[in-house]
């Protein structure tokens, strides 16, 4: 099986260094680690974002992360894959890290492809919703990303 290990976390706060650093995946067998961080931005389509709230259907999100890790591992064929994913929810402000994905594999193409595929699948299928609150006092649920 291509998926060697998956470490999947949905947590009710912005991500901390434990989540954002790829250090936990560094070891002597995997030569390449590709990572992605999603960071809360202070602007969206020209509007100044003051804060936001991620709502999460937690048990489904955890289950879907397992599905995503398995599917991306299977796509890699024989390449071994170690995946670590953290998604935060709740209140966040610009500069907070909401998503961290780390993918380790012996070779760089597999690591890059896997990381991008995991991020795209999260954007498509993870039951998490972002409500942005703007500097003018209005708020809005984002639809898609």
């Amino acid at each position: 099986m291509a998926l060697v290990r998956a470490s999947l976390h949905v947590v009710d706060h912005p991500l901390t260094a434990e989540a954002t650093s790829p250090a936990a995946l560094v070891g002597p067998t995997d030569g390449a680690i590709a990572s992605f961080l999603g960071v809360v931005r202070d602007h969206h389509h020209g509007q100044a974002v003051r804060s936001l709230r991620y709502e999460c259907y937690v048990p489904m999100a955890e289950h879907q992360l397992e599905r995503i890790a398995e599917a991306v591992g299977a796509e890699l064929g024989e390449q071994p894959l170690v995946v670590s994913v953290w998604h935060g929810y709740g209140e966040m402000v610009p500069g907070d890290v909401s998503l961290a994905v780390h993918c380790a594999s012996p070779h760089r193409v597999a690591a890059f492809d896997a990381c991008r595929a995991v991020v795209e699948a999260i954007k498509a299928d993870l039951p998490i919703w972002k409500e942005e609150r703007y500097a003018d006092g209005s708020a809005r649920w984002l639809k898609g990303s």
Binding site: M60, R67, I122, K123, I128, K130, G144
Partner: protein, 82 residues
């Protein structure tokens, strides 16, 4: 007929008027049937229903499924994680 828990999230929650409720459902449903039943129950939902997916027991519902007492259905509006 089975009684299932239905959950509403994000921009589906306000029109539903609740975050979750127990609903009696037919023995077998597909996505269209769930949308119709919930739209009839909460007319304010009808505007957002076409864009919503349906989850059954934590997986996206595709095709038909047999429901049992205690199953969980959820309306999944377009997601915006990441």
């Amino acid at each position: 007929m089975p009684i299932v828990t239905v959950r509403y999230f994000a921009h589906a929650r306000d029109p539903a008027g609740c975050a979750e409720e127990a609903v009696e459902m037919p023995d077998r449903v597909d996505v269209d049937a769930v949308r119709s039943l919930l739209g009839a129950r909460h007319p304010a939902l009808q505007r957002v229903l076409p864009a919503c997916r349906v989850a059954h027991n934590l997986d996206f519902l595709r095709g038909e499924v047999e429901l049992a007492d205690g199953d969980e259905l959820a309306l999944i509006p377009p997601v915006s994680g990441g």
